[in-house]
């Protein structure tokens, strides 16, 4: 498996000043792939570039030459001196490269473990490589396995469960209070960026009407129109306390915008229907004593962060399970890779053809009871000779130098032509 090589840098090894130098757009990536493909040391290449990492996944004949070529390529294509970033590079070979690829796509190597975007980014990188025809038998197989592993980890472990962002955490809590968010009305106090983000998530979760109260009415109106809501003046706030269910506050006000007394009165008007306060302002907007009122729930930014920390901890526990799945997949991939070596393939091919010939011969002979012992011997010899003659040319070809340049492809083709991999393994590859 030494032919597989992975070279790259990520958020753990390189600061953002270096990472931003290596951002490849789609067009950049296309030309990069052609350039890599043209290099004689490299036979297959995939380039993955996200805001947190840039990685080259290569298949090569000579790792040393390929490593140097890849380093030079990175330096040249982005006009950065090699000495500036060489220390940030990690180089994985063989099994380590395969494992790294599996872990990246399953989001085990991400800054936020379990974040779902990375798989899509890997898929895009692979699509570009197939379009540029820079990936071949080995990397195709590796990437298909990668998608399969990532999908399996997502369904079998809880790595993607539970919110790890403020707005997701707030929505998770709202669901625990209200069940569904259908028909729940949302009041925004202050029209900051954070509030907008939260509203976007709430709307996606089918919250009903949005009311925006902002110090400068115009700005509030702008936000309200964008989400089909209503804008009100700050002075009208008390009138709306009886109507809404979720209040998200993010003003810059130095003192509490909503006091304990305000809400105490409002709860009576709203017949104690639950009211959920999300206070993402610092200093806080919502009097924390409101949390003591029956059916009123106040979460400030620290509470939400605590929820997130706990969820991150949960994900870390699930990641252990995920690592086991990765280990399994690495072993499977190695078995496939080893089967690509010429000898096992030739052996398997011989065994297959001989078995077919033997079986057919036995079937025929069993119907021909009148044959003498000599006749039978003759038929057996003929079958044997036919099998050998048929096998002769393919064996010579697979062994020969003739397919050296593309040996793994020929071996893979032979295995598929004669269906040498058993059905079970096929199925598990299907995903």
């Amino acid at each position: 498996m030494d032919k597989i090589l992975l070279i790259g840098l990520n958020h753990k090894t390189a600061p953002v000043e270096i990472r931003e130098c290596f951002a490849f757009s789609d067009t950049d990536a296309r030309s990069a792939l052609s350039a890599l493909d043209a290099d004689s040391a490299i036979s297959e290449a995939i380039l993955l570039s996200t805001c947190n990492r840039v990685e080259l996944l290569l298949c090569c004949h000579d790792t040393e030459a390929a490593t140097t070529a890849a380093k030079c390529f990175l330096a040249q294509s982005k006009q950065v001196r090699l000495s500036d970033f060489e220390s940030a590079l990690y180089i994985h070979r063989g099994e380590a490269a395969v494992r790294h690829m599996f872990r990246v796509a399953s989001s085990l190597d991400s800054m936020v473990v379990g974040e779902p975007q990375i798989l899509g980014q890997v898929k895009t990188a692979y699509r570009l490589a197939t379009e540029q025809k820079s990936s071949g038998v080995i990397l195709n197989r590796l990437l298909h396995r990668t998608f399969f592993v990532a999908k399996r980890i997502r369904t079998e472990t809880g790595i993607g469960d539970h919110a790890v962002s403020i707005s997701y955490a707030a929505i998770e809590l709202a669901r625990k209070i209200f069940g569904t968010l259908d028909n729940r009305q949302v009041l925004l106090v202050g029209a900051g960026e954070m509030a907008e983000l939260a509203v976007e998530h709430l709307i996606r979760n089918r919250a009903d009407r949005i009311v925006v109260a902002n110090r400068t009415f115009e700005r509030g109106l702008g936000l309200a129109t964008r989400y089909n809501g209503t804008a009100i003046r700050m002075e009208e706030l008390p009138n709306y306390l009886g109507l809404v269910d979720i209040i998200i506050s993010s003003t810059g006000s130095p003192e509490y915008v909503l006091q304990h007394g305000d809400i105490k009165g409002a709860m009576r008007n709203r017949r104690n229907r639950p009211l959920f306060f999300i206070d993402i302002a610092v200093p806080r907007d919502i009097d924390p004593r409101i949390n003591q009122i029956n059916n009123a729930y106040v979460y400030d930014i620290d509470d939400l962060n605590a929820v997130i920390d706990e969820n991150v901890e949960d994900r870390r526990r699930e990641a252990i399970k995920a690592e086991r799945i990765v280990d399994e997949a690495v072993i499977q991939f190695r078995q496939w890779f080893e089967s690509l070596a010429a000898i096992p393939t030739i052996k398997a091919l011989h065994a297959k053809i001989r078995a077919v010939a033997q079986a057919e011969m036995q079937k025929t002979i069993s119907h021909l009871g009148h044959l003498t012992e000599d006749d039978r011997k003759a038929i057996e010899r003929m079958t044997e000779a036919m099998a050998n003659k048929i096998l002769h040319e393919p064996t010579r070809y697979l062994k020969s130098e003739g397919c050296r340049g593309n040996r793994s492809q020929s071996l893979d083709l032979a295995r598929r032509l004669f269906n040498l991999d058993d059905e079970n393994q096929k199925k598990s590859d299907g995903g």
């Binding site: 809590l173 669901r175 625990k176 209070i177 209200f178 069940g179 009576r268 709203r270 017949r271 104690n272 229907r273 639950p274 949390n291 029956n294 059916n295 729930y297 979460y299 509470d303 605590a306 929820v307 706990e310």
Partner: protein
């Protein structure tokens, strides 16, 4: 009959085990198995009680053994009915063990009634007993839901996301379910009390005789009536409603057992052994 009873107990105990396993491991099939087992146990009990009803012509509630057995039957029946509308699966972890426990308690007492009581006959009486038992079972479920509500509310208010946070449903669902239990319990209790009064009129010539059982039944009825009224009038919901459901259940338990054991009244044979 004894064999059917034991089967029912075993089924309830297995159901209790699967619901508890569901509580811990959160695997949906566990809850489904629990539900199936509960239904099987309920069918056993229904067959048993039905056979007894046909044999004697009255509801088998002549001694503590029979009474407890009907209590368990009504509890499981109410839970199964409730689950059709409100998918509150986790409540099975309360219902199944409780039903198993009540039936286990029941078999500790002798089966044979002390003396066949000719009083216990007639349509009104049957309606009275069945309605009261189902009503009481609904109140028991309301109390169970109330406990779940208080647990979940404490998690959310206290910002602690412990064992129950992800296992329990939303406050809204718990509150609505608890309310539904109380409404149906109250309806059945009302029907049962009216039927009982009509029966008393037929038997003794008057609707009301200030017997302790009657007085405490009235107290229970008024308690729940106030609870429902306050919810409509000033919105007693959430935490307060949950606490009141528990308090109401305590009053109910006293009316059901306490009056019989501590005070004397005309429902005495009910809990004899």
């Amino acid at each position: 009959m004894q064999i059917v009873m034991v089967t029912a107990i075993l089924l309830y105990m297995l159901a209790a085990a699967s619901f508890c396993a569901y509580l811990f491991f959160q695997r949906n099939f566990l809850q489904k198995i629990g539900h199936m087992l509960l239904i099987a146990g309920f069918i056993c009990q229904t067959v048993m009680l039905g056979a007894e009803f046909i044999r004697t012509g009255h509801v088998p509630a002549n001694n503590l053994h029979e009474t407890l057995s009907v209590v368990a039957w009504a509890l499981v029946g109410s839970f199964l009915a409730l689950n059709i509308k409100f998918r509150l699966k986790i409540l099975g972890a309360y219902t199944a063990p409780l039903a198993a426990f009540i039936l286990l308690a029941a078999i500790q007492f002798p089966r044979e009634p002390l003396q066949p009581d000719n009083l216990l006959k007639g349509v009104w009486l049957t309606v009275h007993i069945i309605a009261i038992f189902i009503g009481d079972a609904a109140f028991a479920l309301a109390a169970g839901v109330g406990v779940l509500y208080l647990l979940q509310e404490r998690n959310i208010k206290g910002k602690k996301r412990g064992f129950f946070f992800k296992r329990l449903p939303s406050l809204d669902l718990l509150d609505t379910t608890g309310h539904a239990c109380i409404v149906s319990g109250f309806t059945m209790l009302t029907i049962g009390l009216i039927a009982g009064m009509v029966y008393a009129k037929i038997l003794w010539g008057h609707f009301w005789s200030w017997d302790p059982k009657e007085v405490w039944s009235a107290v229970t009825w008024i308690f729940y009536a106030v609870l429902l009224h306050e919810r409509l009038a000033v919105g007693w919901r959430g935490r307060r409603a949950a606490i009141m459901a528990l308090a109401g259940f305590a009053v109910l338990l006293f009316t059901f057992f306490g009056v019989n054991f501590l005070l004397k009244g005309h429902h005495g044979q009910f809990t004899q052994w």
